[in-house]
């Protein structure tokens, strides 16, 4: 059980003009599962390599259980890592792969044997122990790579996009496996991914990175429901949040914004009272697909729910529901519709806007406007 603190981590590669990491601060509690998520080039892999000690940092400190390990060699940090390419030693059998780190650390033979068997049992790879990695499937190699990390019982586990090389079905299976494993072992895990669904499903907390800066750190629900800025809002969620430029208007019933469909019809949408100070100003309305659906009598009475009629431009059936695109204020907006009540493209449909969970952003700073 180990707790990890990243204090103002900075990294500039030699010869580079820009900082790759611009002062990252994250506290990771013992037993916590943290995912680092961001687009490629955001610095998440650099941060991971820095924690492992494979790359040096130019500023800040990495603290494990109160002890600064920033200057230590990777082998002295007691951190294990699972790589995207698995990085299994091709000339060694599965058993030797798992035992390699233990052997180097001088563990007695008998203990190594027991430890390899314990790990193989845990990951259900006992039957593969004498095979060479090249003879295993992608999923099996993935398990062996995790086994190698588990065998050392390190303080912290790092996962560097471990599922990216697997096909879609296996990826979902292994995702569940990893989650189960974590719930059972309660180890401290830092998990890098560019897949926001992986980040959402696995994490206790998510750290969203962009251009070497931490954009938001929070639980999956916090990051999804209350994104700090436009980047986080657009990055998390699939299909992603739609953004509409609107002006806050003051009406008798309260604040509202007006949206205009492709046929010129308009609809006034109610907005929460905390936007009072923004009346008359332009804001960006962020609305997720599930906030626009077919009318539902249970919700229709709520003051923050309203309905209108819009032309559906495109429909994309996904199975459980249909994604439809409508045009609002000249922007494509995604809606999630019930698959049992199909609409066809080009037709008009009654749509219900649930404004309770929508978010608003300052168009200048691109930050979310928080309730006072």
């Amino acid at each position: 059980m180990s707790q990890l603190e990243l204090r103002d981590i900075r990294k500039t590669y030699t010869g580079a003009l820009d900082e790759t990491l611009k002062g990252i601060n994250i506290d990771i509690a013992s037993g916590e599962f943290l995912t680092l998520v961001g687009p490629s080039g955001c610095g998440k892999s650099t941060l991971m390599n820095s924690i492992a000690g494979l790359e040096s940092i130019t500023g800040g400190s990495i603290v494990v259980n109160g002890k600064d390990i920033s200057g230590m060699e990777p082998k002295d940090r007691d951190i294990a890592m699972v790589f995207q390419s698995y990085a299994l030693y091709p000339t060694m059998s599965v058993r030797e792969n798992i035992a390699f780190g233990l052997k180097i650390r001088g563990m007695p033979k008998e203990e190594i044997r027991q430890e390899v068997e314990r790990v193989a049992d845990l990951l259900q790879i006992s039957a593969l122990l004498d095979k060479k990695p090249a003879r295993l499937s992608g999923g099996q190699q993935q398990r062996v790579a995790m086994g190698r990390a588990l065998a050392r019982r390190p303080k912290i586990y790092l996962f560097d996009e471990p599922l990216s090389n697997l096909d879609a079905k296996l990826r979902v299976e292994m995702r569940t496996e990893i989650k189960k494993l974590h719930q059972r072992l309660r180890t401290t895990i830092v998990y890098v991914t560019h897949d926001q669904i992986e980040a959402m499903t696995l994490a206790d907390r998510i750290a969203v990175l962009k251009d070497g800066e931490l954009q938001q750190l929070g639980t999956p629900k916090e990051v999804y429901d209350t994104p700090e800025n436009l980047f986080v809002a657009s990055f998390m969620g699939s299909p992603s949040m739609s953004f509409i430029d609107v002006e806050i208007e003051r009406a008798e019933t309260g604040l509202s914004v007006t949206v205009k469909g492709s046929d010129g019809r308009t609809l006034a949408l109610p907005v929460p009272a905390y936007l009072e100070s923004w009346a008359g100003k332009r804001v960006v309305l962020g609305i997720r697909p599930e906030h626009i659906s077919q009318p539902d009598d249970h919700k229709a009475d709520h003051p923050m729910v309203t309905s209108g009629r819009f032309t559906v431009e495109v429909t994309e059936p996904t199975g459980p529901d249909v994604l439809a695109v409508i045009r609002l204020n000249n922007k494509d907006v995604q809606c999630r519709l019930d698959a049992e009540h199909p609409v066809n493209w080009g037709e008009e449909a009654d749509l219900m806007f649930d404004m309770r969970k929508v978010v608003f952003f300052d168009p200048e700073s691109e930050k979310r406007i928080r309730p006072q």
């Binding site: 082998k75 390419s85 091709p90």
Partner: protein
């Protein structure tokens, strides 16, 4: 279905195989002539056709070339020089290959400031003509006290070979994912452990390439052999030259051919034994873990 893939003899097929067979023959004729001539009697050679099989098969040419033929003033055959070549080639091949493997490891997996520049400069070594270094090398060997010794020849060949072997191994190791080295570092392995336990065991194909290449180069070398060795330490290539140039009356073509075959056999054997790795190693980019 069956008539989609036609396997029967069509004129174009016959033409292709005909051309290929002809090319094979053209390449093989010198070897065939050498072989059959080496088994002929001198009489047979004078009267018979160059391509005709021997009327009397005899190994006299071979035994004479091995132990009796004159190479200059001595008449002990090429056997002594054959072993000289082995004593020179085996250590030179092994040392240059191991050094190349180590250089390649450092230049691909432990890059330092200027390592790419250093690799580029090392590559120049592949293009420096042998003649250029003869005089400075002779002076160096003299200062080291290695002039006219097998050890001196080994040193020369190692120095010349390292450029090539480094190139082979560096390019092979570049294609091996860095994650493997990272994983080993996290597992606690150090610089040498990673080299000997992880990378070297993966290197069989390129090891074979380096082995064949270096063996062929060093065994077949004539210039360094003739310049830096004298008398008893000369390699077989030099002895072969002396044997062919030593004229005592009638030219014994069967002995010349047998001696040439003896000089060429080891490289042929090495290629036959390790050849499949050679082809595999040359396409090393596609080698998967």
């Amino acid at each position: 279905m069956t008539d989609v893939i036609r396997t029967g003899f069509r004129p174009s097929r016959i033409a292709i195989y005909g051309v290929l067979l002809l090319a094979c023959l053209v390449y093989l004729i010198p070897l065939i002539v050498m072989l059959i001539t080496s088994f002929k009697t001198p009489m047979d050679i004078r009267t018979g056709n160059l391509l005709a099989l021997p009327t009397d098969w005899t190994v006299v040419g071979w035994t004479k070339a091995w132990s009796e033929a004159c190479t200059g003033v001595q008449c002990n055959g090429v056997s002594g020089y054959f072993w000289n070549s082995f004593k020179m080639t085996v250590p030179a091949v092994l040392i240059s290959t191991l050094l190349g493997a180590f250089n390649g490891y450092v230049l691909s997996k432990w890059k330092f400031k200027g390592s790419d520049l250093m690799f580029g400069m090392l590559l120049f070594g592949c293009f420096v003509p042998f003649q250029v270094v003869l005089l400075p090398m002779a002076a160096t060997l003299g200062k080291l006290g290695l002039a006219n010794t097998t050890a001196g020849l080994v040193l020369v060949h190692v120095i010349y070979g390292v450029a090539f072997t480094t190139l082979f191994f560096r390019n092979y190791y570049v294609a091996i994912p860095d994650a493997l080295v990272k994983a080993a570092r996290l597992d606690g392995a150090g610089f040498f452990t990673i080299f000997f336990r992880i990378l070297l065991p993966m290197s069989t194909p390129i090891f074979m390439v380096s082995l064949i290449w270096q063996f062929t180069q060093i065994w077949n070398d004539f210039l360094f052999g003739v310049v830096f060795a004298s008398g008893d330490s000369q390699p077989i290539t030099v002895a072969l030259n002396n044997l062919v140039n030593t004229s005592t009356g009638v030219k014994e073509y069967n002995v010349d051919m047998a001696a040439a075959m003896i000089a060429a056999l080891p490289t042929l054997v090495v290629y036959i034994v390790a050849g499949k790795y050679f082809i595999r190693g040359l396409t090393a980019g596609s080698v998967k873990g």
